[in-house]
Symmetry: D2
């Protein structure tokens, strides 16, 4: 496969590398086409065959676990295990302010997750009070949900921040009443006994824009004090009731 | 990682951790609400304020560089610097088979890139000959484009493979004539002189499905032999003419 | 109209028709293929050639007049000709309650029009007070905008009604805070002097669902009393401030 | 109809109308607000309540009959009643050239119908041979399917024409390999015995653009000779095999 598709003349190639390159060209030149084809087969890898997933436009991938698609909220429950107390319609599930957080019935570790959220219009509120909610991976690591379109707060607490740990690379917020998307790639932390052996890692696209690129989380989300890790196993997704009637939809998750 | 469905109440929290937790509760309990609020402010970070990006539905982010949106192919050129020889309409730019690869006029290093591609229908071809093309980051590191819907080939050469380096986690291919998407998060390799100090890293979503999660590339894409790194600077995106009249559209890129 | 499932073979073709059909078959059979092809050319019509319109996915047709696409509200003005007093962002233009109706600067007669609207959440209101606004074709003929998802009112005044003239065929309403679409095909009334010679006609799709099929309007929209026609020329589109902070977006119009 | 840009204030209201208007104002002015409200209730119509339809984004309306959504082609059959001989995948159903037309198992009269179609790339063909197929309402009235992007033919036979009866108002064609949409509003002809009492009527949006506005069909589609009506009952939708491997998807229909 030809790969000198750039302006080689502009590259400053160190001498030794150039020599190595010429030798390689010569070596290749001495092979016939048939020999080269035989040579190329040596780097083909035929196993494993990756599993087939249908990924239709405007649909969750066929191997995704659906957490909300408009057909009820049976995949969720209250913290105490009773029925999820939020409102829902075919279009969305919506925080019933004061009813409490909800958690997925199923627990998860490493995942790709898609979720859409919308803050309700709260013209009379500001800062952290305006359209606040949150998505907690493994019930512990929060990606902030907040109406931060023309609403000032501390950047490590704005929408798409990893709350009090990482400021998003850019502010891709949309206004209240607009649907927004998070595409999450999450690697759970590893523990040996109570000891952390590998921290959690997170990549996040907010409305399709990269805001975190494989960052290493510092520990469990804390409002006060520094984050620390506490050993745990796979755990549910938690969605926060922070007093705003925010909505969620199109929630699906793939174990990776 | 295996998922074990457990409830919060069932967690076996190690003893030391539980004690630490209780102490922390006690400490907090001794603070008034006002004191706690003061305490919480210590972990607010007010700088930097991330730059504002408008991310409208069905539009590139406002800070993206547009490489193709239907308005001509002036952002591209032939390898020799002459005009890009491919076909184009408001809907797509299409390989003119035999005309050669094209490269972006602009060079890039670390990027988020979105590109849509479509293989043409070639019922008479199989394996690597069916709807073949490729997207080369920095003109050197290839993400494979191929019609691999019900078309068998070596998995490290199928669509969404990092050619001859990484098999995709799953096969999210759509059939010929369907538009497909790549969302790419790419960190360029770092060199000190001719020495590699940090390999290239790549995360890839194929049709919205995670197929590579921050993998470390092994070097420049090779058809024959093992990949190696050769020091280089920022370089153009290259799109391959491999003899199939494949199409591309909605190409945008953000420097990150 | 009731649908009766039948197969072609089960059709009772009236005798005369069957005979006519057989004669026609015979006549055709007597022609050679070449003669038939010559015959077929007699019903080809080569003029006029319809004008080319590019109709890209997620974009207004290329011949549309854009009334709102996020780039300001300069296409609109207050009734008295001063600047349009509504709020706007790249995402929407929004009624500033109490500021008054707005009208397009341009006047229109026969049109195809696309408009998207969203009612704000008003949990404390009911009936005609909940998310009320309206779209007046030629400033006179109102298509109702109202939050009628699980909100009862008189059907000839619900969302997608032609206010106090026609009940929509079905209720395709979405809840508050969801974007909804109207696709309007409108034929203006014709007058000779002050006399009506042809009434206005309207076809309406609400969220893609047919709710009016070429109905003949009864006159100018009236809150009290029966509608009547008053002769007029081409006139602006009017959007109503009825006290709810509803939003509009993606407004385009084609003269037909 | 020509559009003349005027402001409301510039309207020349005929004298009689102005007087009538003033009288009406006076009459209203003599009523209290409460009396006016009472008066307004006289034109409220409370029955019938239109049936509720959920019309979610990117989904068929909840009252639609699904004719193809990727889950097999059991809703279709060959003309002779045997299994539909076309190809299908989760993405599309595709003409198997030479296998013959297919018809819906169910018969229909008045309908709203949505269908998406794609012509395959046939660079070696021109005119009526390039990407030809057709959609026959009631198996008799054809809306043409053809690749007429930069492909000349007689306009009453181009894509979106009512074949050999009506030229589309504009040419909204997309190129081969692009999905295109038809939104059809169809009123079946009425017959008393063998006599036509009301012709078929059709409104058509092609890729969202109005191309026919409630036109009256002239009879059954004919390749040779003038169209005539032959009495019939409700009949299936027919999709044509005209030798091109065109595809269809997202087919749904609502009886109206």
């Amino acid at each position: 496969m030809k790969t000198i598709a750039i302006k080689l003349s502009q590259l400053k190639i160190p001498l030794l590398m150039a020599i190595a390159f010429c030798i390689s060209i010569n070596a290749s030149a001495q092979l016939t086409e048939a020999q080269r084809y035989e040579e190329s087969k040596k780097t083909e890898v035929w196993k494993p065959v990756p599993p087939k997933v249908e990924a239709m436009p405007n649909q969750p991938p066929s191997d995704a676990i659906i957490l909300f698609d408009g057909n009820g909220i049976d995949s969720w429950e209250a913290i105490d295990g009773s029925d999820a107390p939020w409102d829902h319609s075919p279009y969305a599930m919506t925080v019933r302010a004061g009813s409490g957080d909800i958690v997925s019935k199923q627990s998860f570790c490493d995942v790709q997750m898609h979720i859409e959220w919308r803050t309700t219009r709260e013209d009379d509120k500001t800062g952290q009070n305006k359209g606040n909610s949150g998505i907690f991976l493994q019930s512990r690591y929060e990606i902030q949900v907040l109406d931060t379109y023309q609403n000032s707060t501390y950047p490590n607490g704005q929408a798409a921040s990893i709350y009090k740990q990482f400021i998003p690379l850019v502010d891709a917020s949309r206004p209240a009443e607009e649907w927004q998307t998070y595409d999450i790639i999450y690697t759970a932390p590893r523990f040996t006994g109570s000891e952390l052996t590998s921290p959690a890692r997170l990549t996040l696209l907010h409305n399709g824009v990269l805001v975190h690129n494989n960052v290493e989380l510092k520990g469990q989300t804390e409002w006060i004090g520094e984050p620390k890790y506490y050993a745990h196993e796979c755990l549910p997704i938690k969605l926060q009731d922070h007093g705003s009637a925010n909505s969620f939809r199109n929630i699906w998750i793939r174990e990776i």
